[in-house]
Symmetry: C2
């Protein structure tokens, strides 16, 4: 079977009745597995993650969208997180037996649907129509408040839907992207300078690995510091390489690794390269795992 | 969902019509996934591995048994591999969301069924009624040819079925066991003495880890030697510990590891401890893997 994940972010983090209604609509979609539903009051934002074959995922995303567009009024939205729409970002993420092309088809079909509802849609990352729209932060620059003006510019003509400001719905970014892994490494030191230096050594922004975003975090209660990361492409920048670089950079300060943790869901395929590297099992394939036979 | 695996060994490795008929019967059992079907002419023996919920697995095993008992005549069987029955060994292996107790129930029910067909049944490993029957090799000692005499002894009274020699079917060992991992490590040397020494250092028989069986193997074409292993309990003797011991023992001869390989299916849970050890991700749980959500 083909498995696609979708992780929409919507601009409502306080109204639990509405949030529950959305989670419920997703959960009740046939052949859909809801993996996460989390809300942040300060961000005034919720994230839903769900998994299934392409058609049910599209269906669940439409149901979520319908309720969110009806229940959220962006002209009254306040929250700490950057946002531009009631349904703010909709990333489709290929998980298993599904090509990027197939995921793109779903993203485009969802874009058509949303555009048809009068919402300006920008395709981002792998779905972007032009390089300038690859980066979500670029698209969302100026946020909801800038939309009315941006939509008048040719360069911000939406990929789907009308080039007209929709005060209630705002605009939506729809994309296809690689699964992201949230991964943290804790160091046996209280010295934040070391965490910051190591974060800089592995992150793309300051000369590190291309698909790593990283910051140093103080774990005061534990008496440790942390290198907190997003690994945005585990194929091109694999987990083990980042860990071993952190280990080697920490060693120069006489610091050892205390532990590491995955925050949230991890794609099975990300473990393949770990087995290759640490066991030197060069030909190991996740399809050798007994349980994967049940996913086909 | 609960997942049970069954890996029956039957005493026919040449008659492809019969072997195909058995594989087909298993494959056509509803909700059963056939993982492997392999035959060895010299052993005159075939192995079928399949996976599913307990009830379908029991059903598939009955179908396999019916065809094997009809088509195989042990009084005319010759082959290099030790054997005592047409359906020689039937191990049930808990894979996911299933307790040892539940697997035992299936083994007992299958024992009842087989006993009811007039076949003496011995329960082995976790299903053994007495310590002396835990070890399959002990039960099978003397093979088919010894059965007529053994069945007269009180100590070899079967756990199910008549204490009477069944010339056509022989006897069957039915058990519940932990998933076994066939795992090989290749060394960058042609020196077989080193492979033998390292195999002895890790295997239970000669003072090594309790759940490791190992031999040295010459890989003449590769110009390497191999430590070829069965890991019989990856929880109690985890893969990484065996690999790191081999690495450290090889180093004393100035020898490095060239590669390793898993032969055949690997249980997902066996990878959990690898992630714990190599990434120091102490709390990692296979349920964090996105795809496992589809197995529940």
């Amino acid at each position: 079977m083909k498995f696609l994940m979708c992780v929409p972010n919507i601009s409502e983090g306080k109204d639990l009745t509405l949030i529950d209604k959305i989670a419920d609509a997703v959960k009740k979609t046939e052949k859909i597995k809801l993996l996460e539903a989390s809300s942040d009051r300060d961000h005034n934002r919720s994230v839903f993650g769900y998994l299934g074959e392409p058609a049910p995922v599209l269906e669940a995303t439409k149901r979520l969208t319908e309720i969110a567009l009806e229940g959220i009024d962006m002209s009254r939205h306040k929250g700490d997180h950057p946002r531009m729409g009631a349904v703010d970002v909709v990333p489709f993420i290929p998980i298993r037996n599904i090509s990027g092309e197939e995921a793109l088809q779903v993203a485009y079909e969802f874009g058509d649907y949303l555009g048809g509802k009068g919402v300006p849609v920008y395709f981002y990352e792998d779905a972007a129509s032009v390089t300038e729209r690859k980066n979500l932060a670029e698209i969302r620059k100026g946020q909801y408040e800038a939309l009315a003006e941006k939509l008048k510019e040719e360069v911000w003509k939406p990929d789907r839907g009308p080039a007209l400001f929709n005060p209630k719905a705002g605009a939506t970014a729809v994309g296809v992207r690689f699964p992201l892994i949230a991964f943290n490494v804790n160091l046996n030191t209280k010295n934040m300078e070391i965490a910051d230096k190591i974060a800089r050594s592995v992150r793309n922004l300051s000369g590190g690995y291309r698909y790593v975003r990283a910051i140093g975090v103080n774990l005061t209660e534990l008496g440790q510091v942390q290198v907190s990361m997003n690994l945005t492409n585990y194929n091109k920048t694999p987990i083990h390489r980042v860990v071993e670089t952190i280990r080697s950079e920490a060693a120069r300060y006489g610091v050892t690794l205390a532990s590491s943790e995955f925050v949230g869901p991890v794609p099975l395929n990300a473990l393949e390269e770990l087995v290759h590297f640490y066991l030197q099992a060069h030909d190991f394939n996740v399809n050798q795992i007994i349980e994967t036979n049940l996913l086909d």
